[in-house]
Structures are given as structure tokens and as C-alpha cells.
């Protein structure tokens, strides 16, 4: 009977293609939006990923995400360093600052002040130079941080530092070593552009040393945001984190746990999550609409033949199995097609710098959505089979 069901399905190529399209569309859209969301979440903890040397991140008790820091007193760095099992502990400062470009344009940056001694966490430079260039006076490295066009600076000398009105509508280029910016009325010198991991939300980044950050940022009593700790040889990061918490009363999280905290915080607080859920719901609704209606039409147009089969002795259970087989085939092929398309589209999106990361849950979610949509479509179309009366078909009515 399954053979008959599949031949019936494959025999009507237009509807079969429609069904496949509906399922593939659902699978693609759900997997794609989940992967896009996964990409955004991955970018939300880019700063943690950029500091692989840090086994444990130490912060204020109230910090729940890498992007919402509360600064610590400078003395906490030494308190952390004094904990048994800490091999090294370096400071990291995070802050927002507005920078004025030479043409007068103002752009907000996330300033990342790294340890002066180790320069740990500075991403590689486009020019190929090392992070040591940050040791030059007032040196900063700028990065687009997933944004685009926000680092544009005037190409021509005449448009730089003009008197009077800003020159916004002039030829622009990306900053190069030697360009200058004003941060809080302090002139800083760009020593290069880096290729940092893109951020979510996207924002321009300004890497500098901790001491330069202290000098160019508005004065605050507390400047230290995180203490990045490397564990002693053979010491488990979780145990060290617990030890630091017990000794300092600060919050200490392993890098992995801090990434999870950041994602959890985003899930709970970010409006983008709502957008992603809306997108997923629309994808499923459209998929259900297309697949459900096509499946219903297919079953309805074949109702006469289901009645003939029932008259010939096929039980309703057999007919339901037949519809189930048809739905299963469409679901399986459609999911495969959708996932394949998603991988292709993902490659293209990744190439153009969009956040896309297909993690394990994305195809799972896509498969679950297809299952749900297919079951719904099957239930929708099965109703008419269960209600049909073969005698009416015998009568030609």
C-alpha cells in the first residue's frame, strides 16, 4: 500500500513539487533564522572568544553579560592575583567613548583597554604588524567590529580638521596608521586596523592599552572591568573560579560559563530574540500554510481513489498509513533540500560578513518545525479521508 501511496504522490508532479517546496521552505527558513540567531549570539561573546588565554573571568557580582560591565576598584586586580592557583591575572577595561573623526563626524566606539605588559586580547592587524605598536604614545587600533562604513575618514588633507562646519560629504577612506582621532578632547593616533571577531550588536572597536584607556576615557573612580585569569598548571578552571569567589567575594566565571551567561542574558533581555522568534513563527506559519494547503488539496483531489481503495478493502488505518508515507517522504526530502539550501545560503552570508552559525540546534529546530508542519498538514488532510463515504463515489456523486 505504501508503494501505491508513493506512486500516487510522485505521479502528480506539480503537487509533489509544491509539497516539497513548502516543506523545504519551512526547513530552510527555520534553520536559517535559527543559524542567523546562533551567529548573532556567537558574536555577543566575541570579546570572551578573543581572549583564549583567560581561563576565568573575574567581575563585579552584578555582571551577567560581557556587554554590561560594572567596574571594579583597581585593588581587586591584586586581590585576585593573590589567590592560590592563579598563574597570571591581567586587567581589562571596557567603556564607551565618542570619537571625533578629522572631518568632524562623531562616532561611538567600544574602547577595550588591554594589559600594558602582555597586550593580551589584541586581534591581529590588517597590516601584519604585531600588537606591540600599541606601546607607541596615544596609540589605538580601530576595528569595524561587524559594522560597516563607521570608520570612514576623509581621504584628502584639506578635509581634515577643518575650521567651521564639519565636512561630512567628502571623499572617504578607511583609517590607516598615522590618522588621528579625538577622544574626549584627547588626540589619539591610529596605528592600524585589526580583524577582530565581529560583534553583536555591531559597533566600532578601539583597542588600546589599559593605561592609555585610563588617560583618554572620562575620569572614573573605578576603571577595571574584568580581571582575566590564567589557571595554574593542572588546576581546573571551575575549581579556580570557586576559589576566587570564596577569597575575593567577586564573581568569577570560567570562559565557557561566561559565554553561556552572556547568551542567556541576551535571550532574556535582547529585543532581537523577539524578532528571531517572530521570524521563526512566520516561517512556520507560511510553511504550514503552503504545505498544509498543498497536502489538503492533494488528498482532496485523490479522495475518490482513497474511496475506491476503501471499497476494495483498504482499512482507514491503511489509508492513514498511506497519507503518512506521503507526508513522511515530502518531509524527509523537503528537510534535506531546505538544509542544503541553508548551508549554501549560509556560506554566502558568511562570505559577506553576516552573522551565520549553524549550530546543532538549528537543523534540529528545522527538523522539528517540519515535523510539526507535516503532522499538522497530515491531520488537516486526513480529516476528509476519515469523513468520506465510499458509497457516494460508487454512485458517482
Amino acid at each position: 500500500m505504501i508503494f501505491i501511496a508513493l506512486k500516487m504522490l510522485l505521479g502528480d508532479r506539480t503537487k509533489y513539487a509544491g509539497l516539497l517546496f513548502g516543506v523545504a521552505f519551512t526547513s530552510f527558513l527555520v534553520t536559517f533564522s535559527a543559524s542567523y540567531f546562533g551567529g548573532m549570539m556567537t558574536r555577543s561573546f566575541a570579546l570572551i572568544a578573543e581572549n583564549p588565554q583567560a581561563d576565568v573571568w573575574v567581575m563585579d557580582q552584578t555582571v551577567m553579560s560581557v556587554d554590561h560591565p560594572v567596574n571594579l576598584p583597581a585593588a581587586d586586580l591584586n586581590r585576585v592575583r593573590s589567590v592560590d592557583g592563579v598563574r597570571s591575572a591581567v586587567p581589562l577595561a571596557l567603556a564607551q567613548a565618542d570619537a571625533r573623526f578629522p572631518n568632524g563626524r562623531v562616532q561611538s566606539f567600544q574602547v577595550i583597554g588591554v594589559d600594558d605588559a602582555t597586550l593580551a586580547g589584541v586581534p591581529p592587524l590588517v597590516s601584519g604588524e604585531t600588537a606591540a605598536v600599541l606601546r607607541l604614545p596615544d596609540a589605538v587600533i580601530v576595528d569595524e567590529g561587524g559594522s560597516s562604513g563607521k570608520l570612514a575618514t576623509p581621504s584628502l588633507k584639506v578635509d581634515q580638521w577643518p575650521r567651521g562646519r564639519p565636512r561630512l560629504d567628502v571623499p572617504l577612506r578607511l583609517p590607516i596608521a598615522g590618522d588621528e582621532l579625538l577622544v574626549n578632547d584627547t588626540r589619539v593616533r591610529v596605528v592600524g586596523r585589526s580583524v577582530a571577531l565581529p560583534r553583536f550588536p555591531p559597533r566600532p572597536l578601539m583597542f588600546t592599552t589599559y593605561s592609555t584607556a585610563e588617560r583618554i576615557l572620562l575620569p572614573e573612580r573605578r576603571r577595571l572591568t574584568f580581571v582575566l585569569v590564567s589557571a595554574g598548571r593542572g588546576l581546573d578552571a571551575h575549581r579556580l573560579a570557586a576559589r576566587i569567589e570564596a577569597a575575593t567575594d567577586l564573581r568569577a566565571r570560567t570562559a565557557k560559563d561566561f559565554k553561556t551567561d552572556t547568551v542567556d542574558w541576551m535571550l532574556a533581555n535582547s529585543e532581537d530574540v523577539g524578532d528571531a522568534v517572530t521570524m521563526l513563527s512566520i516561517a512556520m506559519l507560511v510553511g504550514f500554510g503552503v504545505t498544509g494547503v498543498m497536502m489538503f488539496m492533494f488528498t482532496n483531489e485523490n479522495l475518490k481513489y482513497y474511496a475506491v481503495l476503501n471499497a476494495m478493502g483498504a482499512t482507514f488505518q491503511s489509508l492513514l498509513r498511506m497519507i503518512g508515507a506521503q507526508v513522511a517522504l515530502c518531509a524527509l526530502l523537503g528537510t534535506g533540500l531546505g538544509l542544503g539550501l541553508c548551508v549554501l545560503a549560509g556560506r554566502i552570508f558568511e562570505h559577506y560578513g553576516f552573522p551565520f552559525r549553524m549550530m546543532w540546534f538549528a537543523p534540529t529546530l528545522g527538523g522539528a518545525a517540519v515535523l510539526l508542519v507535516s503532522l499538522g498538514a497530515a491531520a488537516f488532510s486526513v480529516r476528509s479521508v476519515l469523513k468520506m463515504q465510499p458509497a457516494l463515489f460508487l454512485a458517482g456523486r
Binding site: L10, G313, A391, L394
Partner: protein, 254 residues
């Protein structure tokens, strides 16, 4: 008035009735919209007999064969087919009974368009649980007996002529060796020549000592193929005519 087929004096001995209905009633709808399709039908059909139900449109012929075939539950009266009363059987039991014992030839053939002729004919065998290959071989053998060649076996219904489609439909009704075959207007979609050919085929292949055929028709050109003609009017059988010459005709074992 009710009709009953009986052996008259001097007539050859006939098989006992394999299907027997007495006072069968059936009403569609309720209240003012109620239509009484059967108003107390008495009918007997014997194995080895081709019974034609004739009468004007709307007189209840199709309802009666639907009741006989277990596709429709009667409202009242008694009816047993091969000693089974559908009223005492569950829906699944009735369906299983149809699977084993009843073959159908529908008015518009109703071959499944996506299946080849051989696959269509093999369908009742597949429903009865036969393996696909065996079912296709048996279906192919039967269709070849009916004049199909290899190309036609692999043809979709849309690629066959009306007569060929009807032959495939008849083969589908026969292939699983049922005891009762019901045919609803089997010649209505065919011209006179094809109609005669199809009825000849039905008599030749479908009739057997253990098998009975009930054919609904209002095509009087094919009455000559009947053993018994039961005429219906307004939900009742008003006259039963026997055509004895058919009774003595040599029959093919089913």
C-alpha cells in the same frame, strides 16, 4: 411489490441464494429533506448467476448494490451476503470482508491515474497482503488473458482507450478471486460495440460456480447477457425476469 428469483417447475436446479435481502430500507437525509431510496427490497442472488438491476435513474439501484457490497448500512430489513450480515459486523470487519469477497467495477472505471494498468489491477492483491512482485505477475497474467500486451501493461490509464480502461477495471475486480462482483453501469461510458465486448468479457471471466455478479444498468442493449433481470422503480423491485438459456450455458470456474 417485491421480487424473488425462484426455480419454476421443470427448470434446472439452481444454486441456493448466496446473497439474500428481505424488506431492506434505506433513507438518505432527515425530516423534510429525507429521501427514501429503498422501500423494502426483497432480492436473492445465487452463485453462478449474473443479475442485472435495471430501472430509471434515482430508483435505488446503486443504493441497493452499495448495501449488498457493504459500503452502506441499511436502515431496516434483513440482508446477508455469503452468510454475513453487515449490521452485525464492525466497520473494520466489513472492510476486511469486502477485501476478500467483493470486487467492484465502477461507473467511471476509477483506475488510479498514477498507477500503470498492471499496478491498478494488482491493487486488490496488495490490499490482501500479497507481495508486490507476485501481485504484479498475477495482474499481468490476467490482463494478458484479456488481450493486453506488455506495452499496455505498463501504460497509465490516460494512455488507454475507454474499452481498455474498462477491461483493466474488470480485471481489477476479478484478480483477487472474489465471490461477489458488483458493477455499476459498466457500459455507460462505452459505445455499443465496446459495451458488448465488456459484457462478454464479464460473463467469460467473472462468472463461476461460486461467484455471483450484480450489474446495475439501464442499458437495455446488454440485457441479453443477464441470467436474471430485476427491475426497480421507486426503491422497490417490481419485476424479476429470468433468462433460462443463460443458466445452462457452460461456465468458467473462477
Amino acid at each position: 411489490m417485491s421480487g424473488r428469483t425462484m426455480n419454476g417447475p421443470g427448470e434446472p436446479t439452481r444454486n441456493p441464494p448466496a446473497a439474500r435481502c428481505h424488506g431492506v430500507t434505506k433513507t438518505y437525509g432527515r425530516g423534510n429533506a429525507a429521501v427514501q431510496a429503498l422501500r423494502g427490497v426483497d432480492l436473492e442472488v445465487r452463485a453462478g448467476e449474473l443479475l442485472m438491476l435495471a430501472g430509471p435513474s434515482g430508483c435505488g439501484k446503486t443504493t441497493l448494490i452499495s448495501v449488498l457490497a457493504g459500503l452502506l448500512q441499511r436502515d431496516g430489513g434483513e440482508c446477508s451476503v455469503l452468510e454475513h450480515d453487515y449490521m452485525r459486523m464492525s466497520l473494520n470487519e466489513t472492510t476486511r470482508f469486502r477485501k476478500r469477497n467483493i470486487g467492484f467495477v465502477f461507473q467511471s472505471f476509477d483506475l488510479i491515474p498514477a498507477l500503470t494498468a498492471a499496478e491498478n489491477v494488482a491493487t486488490p492483491l496488495l490490499i490482501n497482503g500479497l507481495k508486490r512482485q507476485a501481485a504484479l505477475e498475477r495482474a499481468g497474467a490476467l490482463l494478458r488473458m484479456m488481450g493486453f500486451d506488455d506495452r499496455m501493461l505498463r501504460s497509465l490509464p490516460a494512455e488507454l482507450s475507454g474499452g481498455q480502461q474498462q477491461r483493466a477495471a474488470i480485471a481489477r475486480a476479478l484478480v483477487h478471486d472474489p465471490r461477489l462482483i458488483v458493477c455499476d453501469e459498466p457500459t455507460s461510458a462505452l459505445d455499443s460495440e465496446n459495451g458488448h465486448a465488456v459484457m462478454g468479457l464479464l460473463r467469460r471471466f467473472a462468472l463461476g460456480k461460486e461467484r455471483m455478479l450484480v450489474v446495475v444498468t439501464h442499458d437495455d442493449r446488454i440485457f441479453e447477457f443477464a441470467d436474471v433481470i430485476a427491475r426497480m422503480e421507486d426503491g422497490r423491485i417490481v419485476r424479476v425476469e429470468k433468462t433460462p438459456r443463460r443458466v445452462n450455458e457452460p461456465q468458467r470456474d473462477a
